[in-house]
Symmetry: C2
DNA sequence: GCCATCACATACGCACCGTACGCGAAACGG
DNA sequence: CCGTTTCGCGTACGGTGCGTATGTGATGGC
């Protein structure tokens, strides 16, 4: 600890707060999470919070951006692993459904994020995972595999469908069975984009 | 006012509070809306609120149920007006997109509702507008028009896609143009449910 | 016409957020 | 090497809002 520069220390403080926030927001929800408790769990006070993130929303923003980035990376990896471009799009969508089962993703990014930060497209992160899907759709349109739809619109609807599917699966008593149904229905819907 | 019975009076105060809540929640969001202000605008105090709805969430629940019911009725009406069952499903979905442009629907039912009340399927209203879509899908499956998918799953994904489309449209600078794209993409996706 | 009920108002305590200010250590210039 | 400035963070304060406990006046049965 002693050998570190100020910038490193500050970055470490930010990281600690973000880590604690991911836990607290996921478990209690953004509104119910107390900043006094949150900061205390990592040996700090609210002073550090307001100095680093401006306010409570600023911390939520930082957390959302971090998780969003992780999701986009995961989606990209899954898509790249697929046999062809079309299977890649399906794999990405299904990956979103499965990722959204994680409490951190569901609670923070899908529920509290839009409610307290507004529409995802307005986020500074520009919603990486949505952009990822959009680019995939663009490629498929260019290759003539899918109908010439607006890529942004298609990406929006696909992500929206996936997100809602995940909420459904998470709330169900037997997630495994419901997940299978959701994935099946998703494949079905997405097929509507394919050229005849 | 004098000639009314107690039950009528109580129903009237409930209605007044719900009306005020629709306005306040839609304009400021659930979290930011002050119950002191809200009740004062209709000449009451928080006492009336906690007596009639238990707590702040109870009021949100009542508001959500009311709007949800209106949405389901609207969807049913639009669906019935369509030429055939398949066009009815499309019309319902598009109607959801357009309804979700209303701030009361978007802010209260789509953003704050899930965030503060949990998954819509857990709401006491049983999410009427989702049930409406599910029944429509069931009919289409029975008639052999759409593939034998799980009706609940299909309804979930369709509604999710519509909701996300609406958020996108509402946040865009030129809603008219974007709405057209969203509707087009929705028709496309929904087509994936049709039997070949 | 008395009394129980009840819808709603009033009053209180508590939690929490945001801000202004204080402090001590690190960075910096000479 | 030392004085000074910077700055990351802690501390203290005020304001606001929720939930609950208690009071009250009108209503409706008997």
């Amino acid at each position: 600890m002693v050998g570190k520069r100020r910038a490193e220390m500050m970055e470490e403080t930010r990281a600690k707060l973000v880590r604690a926030a991911r836990k607290a927001f996921a478990e209690q929800g953004y509104a119910a999470a107390s900043m006094d408790e949150l900061t205390a769990t990592v040996g700090l006070t609210r002073g550090a919070l307001y100095h680093n993130f401006g306010d409570k929303r600023g911390l939520l923003l930082a957390v959302v951006n971090q998780i969003d980035g992780e999701m986009a990376a995961q989606a990209r990896a899954v898509g790249a692993r697929a046999g062809n471009a079309w299977e890649g799009l399906l794999a990405e969508g299904i990956a979103y459904i499965e990722m959204a089962l994680e409490p951190e993703v569901q609670r923070i990014v899908l529920l509290d994020g839009p409610a307290f930060l507004g529409d995802p497209s307005l986020w500074p992160s520009q919603n990486n995972c949505l952009q990822e899907t959009r680019r995939t759709v663009e490629r498929l349109v260019a290759q003539g595999i899918v109908k010439p739809v607006d890529p942004e619109a298609a990406a929006r609807l696909l992500n929206g469908a996936a997100l809602n599917a995940a909420l459904w699966v998470a709330a169900s008593p037997n997630p495994q069975e419901v997940l299978a149904k959701a994935v099946e229905a998703f494949r079905c819907l997405a097929g509507g984009l394919l050229k005849p």
